[in-house]
């Protein structure tokens, strides 16, 4: 304690010394004697300070010991002069002297001078106004914290009242588990197992073993290790999921593709092997052959194969599958190319085959199976022509199958289907022509002059095509290069098509005639109109290709477009005054020429006609065909409901003729329906900016007829939900996560402390606690 006090006093002393030193630094007032005396004084003081360390002596107040005119700097006395001391007198030396120590004083003086007198206080009302304004600003600032909440509530899709939510208590899983005991035998067993393995029960991810190993590693290593583990797990789960997914795929096509891919891969690998190490490859091949010979796998002797044998008569697929099996067997059994195929070896399995397979299968196989060298040898050039009829009966389906099997692209299949259909049609027609019953019906509509002979000759075309197709498909049977060939085939087919065009199409001609009767100027569009009937849809690809030819025919019959186009210029020329025509005939001709040249590109009349046609097409209500193929009659491929039936079930589009029917140069819009207009919105409602927006909102249905239950519930959520019988309290700051500012309401009382007694304050507290 004492030491610290001494230190303080020493500090004070040193400060005093500095103060004392200050004037001495002044060069004018310093003399050497004084300096000496000063030293002495200092010494004295130091001694005193040291002596005061014992605590008894106190510091003496400095006294003036000597009298003199000279007054020290710190004790100013006004004695002697009887006048009052004026500030200016004191400041005189400061003004005159230019010492830096007085600069601060000068500055202060200047500042004092520059200050003005205080104004009168404001009027009471003014003050109040300012206070009010301040208070208002403050309050509106406080209120602005509600802005986001208010905005949110206004825009909310759904508000649920009352706003206070009862918080449900969540217990951590450890707590739940601790209170739970294994009761049943199974549970106990499971728990025993878990405990034996020290498997973490609650939330830990790793077993103690894993943890220990983790601890043994450095942090980075551990991280790496963990990441690796995680990755492995993820990969595993991914592969598992993938395998499961793939396993679940039911599509036969998919599995076929997969199988094929695998086979391809194996083949490739084998080829590689053959290149790299031919001896091993040969061995492998030999081994495969041996294995095949050993087993009965591909010999159609299994349960499945037997069942297929039974089905093969009726089911083409089964047939095909069997064929495949056999071919595989053969392939595998084949001895290597280097070695000569001995007849005996081959005949062996063949005999077995013949024993197993009924005749039907073999017969077809003769035609269909490509890679079989046996078959190839049997198919000679001479026999082919003889076979054509048989071919046509039996071939198309197998071909189709091959394609559907091998197809990866859509193109060839579609083509094939078209071919098939054509063929079927052709077949049915041929049957008819043989019976010569329907021939009249066919001929009666449009092509009366064309004889059935002609038709037959025309019909022969597809058969030719099929022959060619068959040829083209034959090489395809080899495992590679099927698709490109098919592609190559396409253009040639298209070139061929005009030959096939002349087929009579009864339904269409009938309808077209009707259409002609009804609408005179719409025939050229006929083909592009989407047909309602299934028949038409079926034939659509043909229709498109047939279009140009039939157009020609119609033009011969009645070319209305020509009529119109020739007519309308004459109308135009009539409009031109005749006198002018006479006078400047040449000029006009020139002008006409010029106009013609100027508008060479666009044909206005044609455009108009097209527009009119389009509008008529668009506005026309379509006929409804209710025929059901197979209803009351035999149904199936290639069978069509009779014309009578179709006529019976065709419901013609109602409606009066168009108003602009007789005005070639006018389009009258008949879209507006007065009856419907009463139910339509005439003006775009407010929040929408474009009619399409509004239409979109209307067009999405919200009912449960069109939406799933969940979607329906979501779509029909009410905007405000209230609980019946519950009081809805005003929103509170606490509800939305704010501190309520109203806690400081009590500050009113703090402003009026005089009026509040202590007892009252207690009461208040009690109330607020309540």
């Amino acid at each position: 304690m004492t030491a610290s006090r001494v230190a303080e006093s020493l500090l004070a002393l040193s400060q005093q010394e500095e103060l004392v030193d200050l004037p001495k630094n002044h060069p004018l007032s310093v003399s050497e004697d004084e300096e000496d005396s000063d030293r002495e004084r200092k010494h004295q003081k130091l001694l005193e300070a040291i002596s005061s360390l014992d605590g008894k002596n106190r510091r003496k107040v400095a006294e003036r010991s000597e009298a003199g005119l000279k007054v020290s700097e710190f004790n100013v006395s006004s004695e002697g002069s009887g006048e009052k001391l004026v500030l200016a007198d004191l400041l005189e030396p400061a003004k005159t002297s230019s010492s830096p120590s007085l600069a601060t004083v000068k500055k202060q003086l200047n500042r004092v001078k520059s200050k003005k007198t205080v104004r009168l206080p404001l009027h009471k009302e003014e003050v109040e106004r300012i206070l009010r304004e301040l208070a208002f600003n403050k309050t509106s600032q406080v209120l602005s914290k509600w802005d986001p909440i208010v905005l949110k509530n206004r825009q909310a899709n759904q508000l649920v009242f009352p706003l206070e939510k009862e918080q449900s208590a969540f217990a951590p899983i450890e707590h739940v588990l601790s209170g739970w005991t294994a009761r049943t035998l199974l549970e106990q067993k499971v728990f025993n197992l878990l405990h034996k393995n020290k498997q973490p029960v609650t939330d830990h991810f790793l077993t103690p073993m894993e943890k220990a190993s983790l601890k043994a590693m450095s942090l980075e290593e551990a991280k790496m290790h963990q990441a690796e583990l995680q990755r492995a797990r993820a990969l595993q789960s991914y592969y598992e999921a993938r395998a499961q997914r793939e396993k679940k795929i039911k599509s036969k096509k998919y599995h076929k593709i997969v199988k094929k891919e695998k086979a391809k891969k194996a083949l490739k690998a084998f080829e590689q092997l053959g290149k790299v190490n031919p001896t091993v490859a040969l061995e492998k091949l030999e081994k495969a052959r041996i294995m095949e010979r050993m087993s009965l796998k591909h010999q159609n002797s299994g349960k499945w194969a037997k069942s297929k044998v039974i089905m093969a008569k009726y089911d083409l697929e089964a047939h095909q599958a069997m064929q495949e099996q056999l071919s595989k067997n053969k392939e595998l059994m084949q001895k290597l190319q280097i070695a000569l195929e001995s007849e005996e070896e081959e005949r062996g399995p063949e005999e077995v085959e013949e024993l197993l397979i009924p005749g039907v299968v073999n017969k077809v196989q003769m035609n269909a199976d490509g890679p079989n060298p046996w078959m190839l040898s049997s198919c000679t050039q001479d026999s082919r022509e003889a076979e054509t009829h048989e071919d046509l009966e039996e071939l198309p389906e197998p071909v189709a199958h091959e394609v559907s099997e091998s197809e990866v692209d859509e193109g060839p299949v579609a083509e094939e289907e078209i071919l098939l259909k054509e063929f079927e049609e052709w077949r049915s027609l041929r049957r008819r022509s043989e019976l010569s019953q329907d021939a009249e019906l066919v001929g009666s509509q449009e092509t009366k002059e064309s004889s059935s002979q002609e038709k037959l000759s025309e019909l022969r075309a597809p058969s030719q095509r099929f022959k060619e197709n068959h040829q083209s498909w034959k090489p395809k049977a080899s495992p590679t290069g099927t698709v490109p060939q098919a592609h190559r085939e396409e253009p040639s087919l298209e070139e061929e098509e005009p030959l096939l065009l002349q087929r009579p199409k009864r339904v269409q001609t009938l309808e077209e005639l009707e259409e002609l009767e009804k609408e005179e100027c719409s025939q050229s569009q006929e083909f592009f109109r989407p047909g309602l009937e299934g028949q038409q849809l079926e034939r659509n690809p043909n229709n498109l290709s047939n279009a140009p030819k039939e157009k020609k025919k119609k033009e011969q019959m009645l070319d209305l477009q020509n009529l119109l186009t020739t007519k309308s210029p004459s109308v135009r020329s009539l409009a031109v005054p005749t006198t002018l025509k006479e006078v400047d005939d040449e000029e006009e001709r020139d002008q006409k020429q010029m106009i013609k040249e100027a508008f060479a590109g666009d044909d206005v009349i044609k455009d108009f006609l097209k527009e009119k046609r389009d509008t008529i097409e668009a506005s026309k209500s379509k006929d409804m065909d209710l025929t059901l193929p197979g209803w009351g009659k035999w149904g199936g491929m290639g069978l069509k409901p009779s014309a009578k039936k179709r006529r019976h079930f065709l419901i013609k589009a109602p409606g009066p003729p168009r108003k602009d029917k007789n005005f070639p140069n006018v389009i009258i819009n008949e879209k507006r329906n007065i009856h419907a207009a009463a139910h339509q919105v005439q003006v775009l409602p407010y929040p929408f900016t474009h009619h399409s927006q509004f239409e979109r909102t209307v067009q999405t249905p919200i009912g449960s007829t069109w939406n799933t239950q969940r979607a329906f519930q979501k779509l029909t959520t009410p905007k405000v939900v209230t609980k019946p019988g519950h009081i809805i309290k005003p929103i509170k700051a606490e509800d939305v996560g704010y501190w309520s500012s109203s806690r400081s309401d009590l500050s009113v009382m703090q402003r009026y402390p005089k009026q509040l007694s202590m007892s009252h304050k207690k009461q208040l507290k009690k109330n607020s606690v309540d």
């Binding site: 106004r129 009010r132 304004e133 208070a135 208002f136 309050t139 509106s140 406080v142 209120l143 509600w146 208010v150 509530n153 508000l159 009242f161 009463a678 139910h679 339509q680 919105v681 005439q682 409602p685 909102t697 209307v698 067009q699 249905p701 919200i702 009912g703 449960s704 007829t705 069109w706 939406n707 799933t708 329906f712 779509l715 029909t716 959520t717 009410p718 405000v720 209230t722 019946p724 019988g725 009081i727 809805i728 005003p730 929103i731 509170k732 500012s741 109203s742 309401d745 009590l746 009113v748 009382m749 402003r751 009026y752 009026q755 509040l756 009252h760 009461q763 208040l764 109330n767 607020s768």
Partner: protein, 445 residues
Amino acid sequence: MKVKMLSRNPDTYVRETKLDLQKVPRNYDPTLHPFEVPREYVRALNATKLERVFAKPFLASLDGHRDGVNCLAKHPKSLATVLSGACDGEVKIWNLSQRKCIRTIQAHEGFVRGICTRFCGTSFFTVGDDKTVKQWKMDGPGYGEEEEPLHTILGKTVYTGIDHHWKEPLFATCGQQVDIWDEQKTNPICSMTWGFDSISSVKFNPIETFLLGSCASDRNIVLYDMRQATPLKKVILDMRTNTICWNPMEAFIFTAANEDYNLYTFDMRALDTPVMVHMDHVSAVLDVDYSPTGKEFVSASFDKSIRIFPVARSQSREVYHTKRMQHVICVKWTSDNKYIMCGSDEMNIRLWKANASEKLGVLTSREKAAKDYNQKLKEKFQHYPHIKRISRHRHLPKSIYSQIQEQRIMKEARRRKEVNRLKHSKPGSVSIVSKKKKHIVAVVK
């Protein structure tokens, strides 16, 4: 040969227990359910028609007062309890579920000017023409006890309104000035004035509870801050405001019921332009009360009708009236957002449904789903002319109807005159004042 058969697995359609929901397989293929828009339109049309058919909002009339009902108050904790004060100084406490008066107090001599309940629901305060403020217990006196107020404060002037603080034992009265009282004291702890006119009503803000609003007969609305014991701002309207009501969900929004047949919704931070002017009444609007959800409010008018306005709309969505209901003086929206009560001149308190066609009672889930769906359909097709016409159609008594026609003509004439003035004066000399701003005379800081 494989024969294909139709077969059904019972697992797909048989319930495990009786309590399970029936599986109803549905095909949502849009081609199977065509004409979705027309079908939904018809459904919406039917829903709208049914809504109008079932719109029977009037529930009950509580009679028993012997003079016009001057003020109403809700109980903060009980939905079934309502308090009413009449012009003869009588206060009645009603049980709504029984539709009976359960207690009658002769509280004042002369009018009961104002009534309010304490936030905890244990007592209530009344002010009357006899210059007194009285605090009463909510429960009736025991057997043999006399009906006496807990406290009585004798004031110097007449009090015209009272409102209790939402959280603390404070209440505010108005008359010559706005006084804030402590429940335990006989002198106000603070009184605030601005101007020298009688103040007709004072209301605490339910959210920022230190805020107050009052309206005086010199056509102004004044806002106060209780913490700083100072008025904040004053807005002067064309005509006198009878009462104001704060939005219970939006702290800065309040609605003022004005004598000029309109209601004005203000944002208190921007008093120079009302947020919305609600105009459908044809006579002075006497009272207004917000729904507890803050989305709508109900107004009582001298034209013998009450109207329900959505906050954001200037037109009312509903008008209620009966033959016997006279000038409606006070109105309240119950705290469960379901009912509306109004007290009128001819001594009755009437109970209405807030949603006219709503089915009361517990709804099954299917009913609820159908209700929601119908509501959404009505919303979706609300702009279609037929639906719009049907949903907007209301029957009005002849007096109100003719008044509306008359006022429409007057309004049109005024508008035409304005347009003409604008047309025939030097451009720039006549300023166009927006409809909202037209009724604001001044904002005083």
